[in-house]
Amino acid sequence: MIAVDIRKLTVKFGEFTAVDQVSLSVRKGEIFGFLGANGAGKTTTIRVLCGLLVPTSGHVRVAGYAPEDGLEKIKTRVGYMSQRFTLYDDLTVAENLKFSGSLRGIVGRKLEQRIEELLEFVGFSRATGAFVKDLPGGIKQQVSLAASILHDPEIVFLDEPTSGVTPGARERFWKLIRELAGKGKTVFVTTHYMDEAEHCERIALMKDGKIIALDSPGGLKASTFRTPLLEILPSRKMAEGSWLPQLRAHPAVESIEPYGMRYHLVISDPARLGEVKAQIPPSFEISQTAPSLEDVFIRLVEAGFIK
């Protein structure tokens, strides 16, 4: 079953094209990731899918409804957790959730039950009378998530849900996302963190409003790196780099990208591996490594690699 279907979606703000001819479809129960730099068009796409923006052209179908059928049909079936923190600081956790619930038409005993249920689900163990401003970032995100799924939506859009929280909180948050998907919810996530993207079943890479790659994490890695990826690690703390330009000019070397203290090197011709290795000073350790999504991202988005 298809939860989200987009055909040639284009959104323009004046002369600026924020989303350019994007097509994709997401099946029910899938965790779908949106990756891209700021301004790549991720948030704009999500805002269209949540009924907050009308596309300039193209077809959109969310939970079986198009924007033309009435935006409220979409709005009642999706949950949206915005990139910016949108709970009210001067309201308590309970007041915030009750407010969100009332806007969705959930009232009375049913609302209280639902709040209790969701706070348990997200692992909120504090007093619901606590003011939101007094909560740490990770807990706020949990409450935000609870607020966005109060009405039991079929599709949940999470726009950078883990920005600015601790690694531990991020881990817990992704556990919740997987649980949601396990319950049959479709989860649409955007993120900056490459390691998080590994949790997604499929990832769309966006650049300048276009999708430049769409596959599973494994598929993306395999298609982007058809030849071995070498990791070059200095064995001493201060290693000289004078060999770099010479190696970069080598015909069998496709690219060398710095990774902190290390370098990732892509060989274009696996047959000449030994030849390349000989060029690297002995003070570096060389190992063949599996590409991460970060390698994929750098290669596709920043280096502009085209398959």
Partner: protein, 373 residues
């Protein structure tokens, strides 16, 4: 696009807004303390009345009539007279700042008055102090009428306009005049400033997007957010009204059924203006500055609250017509002091209706463009 307006959603927004107000010391302080401070400053500290103004008098006529004129001036309580031997000496007193005004009565004053010619007495004013000049002119106008009444009773009794002025604020008491105007200032501050801040805040912290991602309609958001401020504005207006009546003893000669619709029209106009500002700016800081510039300052300076509009240059006399405060001050002063009804206040009411219409149209247009996808 259309779905039913739900009271439950409006009430949810309203409840939330009340929490915001109750928990925000700035809003509360502004709503409670500001009317009080303004009433105290404008009602007590600033005295627009001038008493015992020094006036140098040269009576070159020395007749029964000229003495009568100086007597009227002296007994009015506004002027303290000093006798000067010559017109030059009187001018000297004015130049040396020993007097704010000089009165020179020429030799034939009494004779002219008796022979039904125009009798002339010259008043010289220190134009460098223009804040007192206006008041002195006002007083002189009154004094002249009293003098006319004394010398030529039939002229004064036929002059209805001046008679009414005297009836309504016989003492020319500036507080009676100022305090009803304060109603406009207090409402202006609460309505424009707080409204523009509350909606700009939702934009600024991103919660407007959260609101809009739910099935709530933009109109429901606006109603829910504005009603608490309408109540706050009405509360402040009642407070100023009670202070005026009980604290300052300002009479209320008109009908509350005239004043209350006026207050409601005026609050709506400024709530809408605040809404318009917040939709355009979307930032609290900018909204606050714009509210001050387009709401508060013109309400104080250009509405006739302090400076009479009749004394403004022709351009401003026309320009001030776009200020709701100008019209509301007329309604407020009219109902308080002269007991005017809808008939007398037809122009201000009509003007407020038109301004409301224009503001609501502008706000809706901009609001729709921004919010309804």
């Amino acid at each position: 696009m259309k779905w039913q307006m739900k009271w439950s959603r409006i009430i949810a927004v309203l409840r939330k807004e009340v929490f915001h107000i109750l928990r925000d010391p700035f809003t509360l302080a502004l709503a409670l303390a500001l009317p009080l401070i303004l009433v105290l400053v404008f009602g007590l500290a600033i005295e627009f009345n001038i008493r015992e103004l020094r006036m140098a008098v040269h009576d070159g006529d020395r007749t029964y009539q000229s003495r009568g004129l100086t007597e009227v001036l002296g007994s009015s309580g506004y002027f303290k007279l000093t006798n000067e031997v010559s017109p030059v000496a009187a001018m000297g007193a004015l130049e040396g700042e020993r007097a704010k005004a000089a009165l020179i009565i020429e030799k034939n004053f009494g004779k002219q008055l008796g022979s039904e010619q125009v009798a002339r007495a010259q008043v010289l004013l220190d134009g460098s102090d223009n804040s007192t000049v206006g008041l002195i002119l006002g007083y002189l106008n009154g004094v002249q009428k009293i003098a006319e009444h004394k010398f030529l009773p039939e002229v004064a009794s036929s002059n209805l306009e001046i008679r009414t002025k005297y009836l309504f604020n016989g003492e020319l008491n500036s507080r009676w005049f100022t305090v009803p105007g304060l109603l406009a200032i207090v409402i202006a501050i609460l309505s424009i400033l707080l409204t523009s801040l509350t909606i700009a805040r939702e934009w600024e912290n991103g919660s407007m997007e959260l609101l809009l991602s739910t099935p709530i309609r933009p109109l429901e958001i606006v109603i829910g957010k504005l009603v608490p401020y309408l109540v706050l504005g009405l509360g402040a207006a009642t407070f100023v009204y009670l202070l005026a009546r009980l604290g300052f003893g300002v009479p209320f000669r008109g009908s509350h059924f005239v004043l209350i619709p006026g207050v409601l029209l005026f609050i709506t106009a400024y709530l809408t203006q605040g809404l318009l500002i917040s939709v355009i700016t979307r930032r609290q800081q900018l909204a606050m500055q714009l509210s001050m510039m387009t709401g508060l300052l013109p309400s104080i300076l250009l509405s006739g609250f302090i400076f009479p509009i009749e004394n403004m240059p022709p351009f401003f006399q026309v320009f001030t017509s776009i200020l709701p405060a100008k019209w509301f001050i007329q309604i407020s002063r009219g109902t308080f002091l002269s007991g005017s009804g809808f008939a007398e206040l037809a122009t201000p009411f009509l003007a407020l209706f038109v301004l409301n219409g224009v503001l609501i149209m502008l706000a809706t247009k901009n609001f729709k463009k921004d919010l309804e996808p």
